[in-house]
Amino acid sequence: MASSSNAKHKRIAEEEEEEEEETLEELEGFDDFTLASSWERFISEIEAICRVWMVDGPKNLVEKGAECLGSQKKLYKVKSEMKHGTKLYSIEYYFCVSNKGKASFWDDDLHDLQLSFGVSDFMVIAPLSASGVVLDAPESTKLLSSVAIALTNCGSGVVLDAPESTKLLSSVAIALTNCGSNWPAFVPVHDPSRKAYIGIQNLGLIFTRRFDADRIGSQVPIRLMHLEGLYELFISKFALYSVDFSASFFKVQFAMKLTYRSPPYESDDEIDSVDPEVNESKGDIVSSNHIKTQWDDDCPWTEWYSAEDPIRGFELVAIWSGRMFESSLEMAELENASSFDAEKWLLCPIIFPFMMDDSTWMFVGFASQIRLLVSALDMSFEAQFLDDFVSAENPASDKSKSSTAIPPPTVLDRVLKEIFHDGGHNSHLVERDNKHSRAIKGAPLESLFAQFCLHSLWFGGCNIRAIASLWIEFVREVRWCWEESQPLPKMPSDSTIDLSTCLIHQKLQMLAICIEKKNSSHDTHNSTESVDHTPSGKKVDAEADPFKEPVKDENGSYLRSYSHQDSEPSTSSSFKHHDYSVRSPDLQKVDQVRKGSAGVVGSMMLLHSYQKMHAPYTQDAPIMTEDMHEERLHAVEVFGDAFSFSGQLERDILSSDMSAFKAANPDAVFEDFIRWHSPGDWENDDTEGCAGDGNNWPPRGKLSQRMSERGNLWRQIWNDSPPLPVLEQKPLLDPIREGEKILHYLETLKPHQLLEQMVCTAFRASADILNQTIYGDFKPMKTRFNQLYITLASTLKPLQANHLREKAELIGDLRRLCLVFEHIEKLLIFAASIHRKLLDVPRLSEAMFSDYFNFYLPKMGTSLESICYDQEFKTKQLVMMHERDAVAILFPPPTANQSWRKVLSMGNLLNGHEPILREIIFSINDRVEDSHYGSSIPMATTEEIQTHRMYIQGTSNDLWVALSVTSWD
């Protein structure tokens, strides 16, 4: 108990105050002679307030702005203040709007007093806190010190001792009777931690209900730890009243609510995993001595960070309701009953606070790191070159403090090695083509640049200097690959460039292709020589083909897979071609000069020579990155508005095709080329036009009007194109030149250009990683995640546009985006956690997720200010009968190690766990005979009323009892 000396102080203070009150009364008394004393005035004041409230009724009070309590919007509160002597009192009226009458016993939304005394609407009168106490007389200053001492001992409220509160309560009771109200009224007694109350309620004219509650904070008698003892306590309470009950056995109604809390998941590792330092880089987590496996070990994000488990555990509420008991023996029996016998199970996750707190240091994940990256982007505008950030004498780095340190070379080496060599994720390279993800202009998840971005997020706290140093080393490594003609790791090897990705990724794709071409052109050199030596190029073809990809020749060119109805399937063409030439020895002469053929084109015959038409190998259309396309478009825009423009590049391609066609078909004429290349421009005269039919030879047809006009550009190009197979042609794309250009780009990249692309890629890659999380079928999560992608795409769009907007605005947008991302990331981690914890009861996990989702939803605005919740997530889900076994697994029997710590004192164990809280309601109903006052009482004659009710709430070391007794006055 609080020290008795304090109590004494308090007593003294109050006595002194009372004295003063009297002196004040004398002064004020002459204002109003109609009232005998200030006490009576006080009562009439209360009465006045109550009358106002009664007249208004709940509906109007709500409209007038009554404060809503609880999440279900059932309970409201209005408040008023009044002065009695020098003291201020608050008078509060709590009322229910919907669900009139008594709510179920165990409604979570119930106010403490409702729960304890079984009332619905009620009033509380209490002296106001110190700040509200107005002491105006000069003498009161001397009291202040003593009052202050008393107040500091009891928190904010002014403490009433028993006699004073009785006085207060009786004033209220009188006031309420005067206005004919039957609201119960409560007055707190002692200090608030004791939760002691007294209360009174008029029930019509005959009955009065009295309320009383108090708490034992420690050293609860063992007898009162058990149901049997508590039952006897209740019995003793009404046995005291010499009520006219007929017999000694009472039908005691009983209801009980037990709350269990699941044991913490990693009690020993907690301190380790909270430490943010550990999360700083992926390697540290691995190397730190975490022997225990993390909860998220197999979640997709664990490669990068380890998330705090958002679910600390579960609270299970088991409810026994509406039983009748007649003896204490039965109670003892019940105490041994398994919690599986309870009528109702409710489950609620205990959420770790970081889920609700948006303070930046609270949550370490992709969102937090990308936020750092955005800050780095903000700084990146300060310098022209990335090297400026690394060199120490740069003014930009002067500002930098320890937070912008560059990790030591060993760490740098390790990270580089991871980027370039580790991770056999190549199987993932062909990504699940997520349309949403593609809309974000970044590099695909498993690609080299995306890996660079992800690593830099966790590299040295992701500051601009660390990023710059990592980038410089990264480019150095890329150059090494180029110079040594080593294939670039983690780059897809198909020869197209995905223009929806960021420019750096496109450049790297292009570089990978250039490296490949560089290597093969080196090979080609040898094979070209051999062609020269052999009289028949055909033989080389035949020899080479089986060892090559059938579709692809040495130059990396592709056989065109035209969809003409008369072309052969390209994959098998080389072999068929070979077979064919063997069977037709009469064509030997032609074959000897034929070069670069990729096979015959179906049954098409050359117009003049009646030879089979051969499709040539052609050069690939040159690949281009985005900036090259743009350059070209600009060039065309500048020069191209003249009549009949065609790009030089397109002409080169056409010319190259014509040369190759000429080489493959030495006797071909322009018409043959058109028949193959642009069949629409060859008009057959006869309808069938079957070229293979010997009778119709030569096919009667002609070029289309537009193709046969004088000065036709196609024919000009045809005339100018020499017969040359692709191997001998000048390549459309010079790999050496292009490769060097790319490296130049990478080496001279402006810091902000790098950072912009990193931000996009980091967002995209992180979202893609998180999106792989398995969390069951939580629809709102899926929807939200897709929305996230869309938000990311639209917000990041201006980032790589050529013209930058206002920088501050951009950074602000990105910071907001980080917050949005964090919300989704947290929700997703929560979803994953609850999914895996309740794997066997998907219905339950889904319901809990959507409860939590709805609870979290208001936070998800996109404003930069975070909304902090003061309320806790408490929504419980009903556990179905068949789900109980799966839920009970959450409460594994304690190990020997754990169980010695606790002395079990309560019954009803669940897998060896005792409840953390036990709440019991005993009550006795009685049929009321209204013999006393005739029929004027409001209740019907046969109505049952609750004569005694006791609410008991206890843990293993404290006990709180609230009693309400109805009596005849």
Binding site: M624, E637, V638, F645, L654, G680, R706, W714
Partner: protein, 179 residues
């Protein structure tokens, strides 16, 4: 040069339009009719052609950059780059050649899905050569049905007789403007 036009724009908006469709359906002729109101037999486009046209619409000066692509397959890999950022795509077919119509769904609609980077790009279906009414094999209803299925604007026109050519571009630009 282009930078000078950027620094002092003589127009309020710049729109990028793209024309696609099989070889010989008359894309270049349509464009020529629209930009210089003339009609002649043109050489087949090699790769890509490009025209600029200033139009005034609702008091606003619009600069249209219209890219005219070649229909030949060989150029298809190249033309992919012109889809980028196009705000309007005109799919042209020849009402006298059914294959040019069927290729729209078999080939060209897929190309759009593949290469168009602009989610809100407006598509327009244009049936050309309605002057050859007696040779017509694709009915107007078929065109309408296709347009409905793919969510495009639809118009039939003739580059030769000028019927509907202006309307075709204007309607597309209007839709791009107000979408």
């Amino acid at each position: 040069m282009y930078s000078s036009s950027l620094s002092q724009p003589e127009f309020d908006y710049l729109f990028k339009l793209l024309m696609i469709g099989d070889s010989g359906v008359g894309k270049s002729s349509l464009l020529l009719r629209f930009t210089s109101d003339s009609f002649e037999d043109l050489s087949p486009t090699i790769g890509v052609d490009f025209k600029l046209k200033m139009v005034t619409l609702g008091g606003k000066k619009l600069r249209l950059a219209i890219w005219d692509t070649a229909g030949q397959e060989r150029f298809r890999t190249l033309t992919s780059s012109y889809y980028r950022g196009a705000q309007g795509i005109i799919m042209v077919y020849d009402v006298t050649r059914r294959d040019t119509f069927t290729n729209l769904s078999d080939v060209w609609a897929k190309e759009i899905d593949l290469y168009s980077t602009n989610q809100d790009c407006i598509k327009m279906l244009v049936g050309n050569k309605v002057d050859k009414e007696n040779e017509r094999v694709v009915t107007k209803k078929e065109g309408i049905d296709f347009a409905r299925e793919y969510g495009c604007l639809f118009l039939e026109c003739s580059a030769k007789t000028r019927v509907n050519v202006e309307q075709c571009f204007e309607e597309l630009v209007l839709k791009v403007c107000y979408d």
